[in-house]
Symmetry: C2
Subunit: 149 residues, 2 copies
């Protein structure tokens, strides 16, 4: 029997403001502020977080946070988790959008016997990630699992 | 006659790694690294950027950057731009996702005569934002225009 879940509605907020040229600042209450620009290929200033990277960072962090929650619920022991996200920005009907993102989590679990369970938890986290559920991009998961101390 | 545009394909990358507890770090090459967690209501650590805020920050920054590009192309003079993004995370078929985001740009242009043109440029930027085109949320634009020095 499935446990009943109470779904609530949550609101989140951020602000941006223009500072100069092609540059601005992104803020959220109580968070460190973040200088942002466009990628250099879209005439932005180099070295700053871009909307494209924040989009991939959001999806990448959400998948990790969902994994952390599920791993705790299931009592999965692991010693490291790192994940790269690579997104493809391409034109569809003359409009640029992220058509595809590939997530490559590299996870080190404590025992060989945990590998398959860990793979399932990663897959569940990928399926339930709020951000993955909010975007139109095809999201691929290519996990790599290791056993370590 | 419409100008022909050459559309290219671009790749963007970010990384995340777990640091401790419900906390990690998001990185992108050459960018300042960013501590991330979940919102407190999802058992995260307070005071850190969350995937939810990065998602809204991405959309908000992309709309601003597109506006900055178009304002420059059209020679629109303005003295300030700030925008709040409020997103609603709600359950749809038992899965959380961002169902709606409202962007409220506050723009100060240099002359009364520019108000309508500025409103159109904001609307065009909203329509063409790469991130807005990549998400399933309904995105509302509620601009506020002022004239100032």
């Amino acid at each position: 029997m499935e446990t009943k879940k109470a779904f609530k509605v949550f609101k989140y907020r951020t602000q941006v403001h223009w500072t100069s040229g092609r540059r601005g600042e992104a803020t959220a209450e109580g968070r460190p502020s973040l200088a942002v620009s466009s990628p250099p290929e879209f005439q932005g200033e180099p070295g700053l977080w871009t909307p494209e990277e924040l989009f991939l960072g959001s999806l990448n962090a959400c998948t990790m946070q969902t994994f952390l929650a599920y791993a705790r619920q299931k009592g999965l022991a692991f010693s490291s988790y790192a994940c790269s996200a690579e997104g493809t920005l391409a034109s569809v009907e003359r409009k640029y959008r992220f058509t595809e993102v590939t997530l490559r989590p590299v996870l080190t679990v404590n025992a060989e016997a945990e590998i398959e369970r860990a793979r399932q938890i990663l897959s569940d986290a990928h399926r339930d990630c709020f951000i993955s559920n909010s975007i139109t991009s095809k999201v691929n998961l290519e996990p790599e699992l290791h056993v370590g101390g």
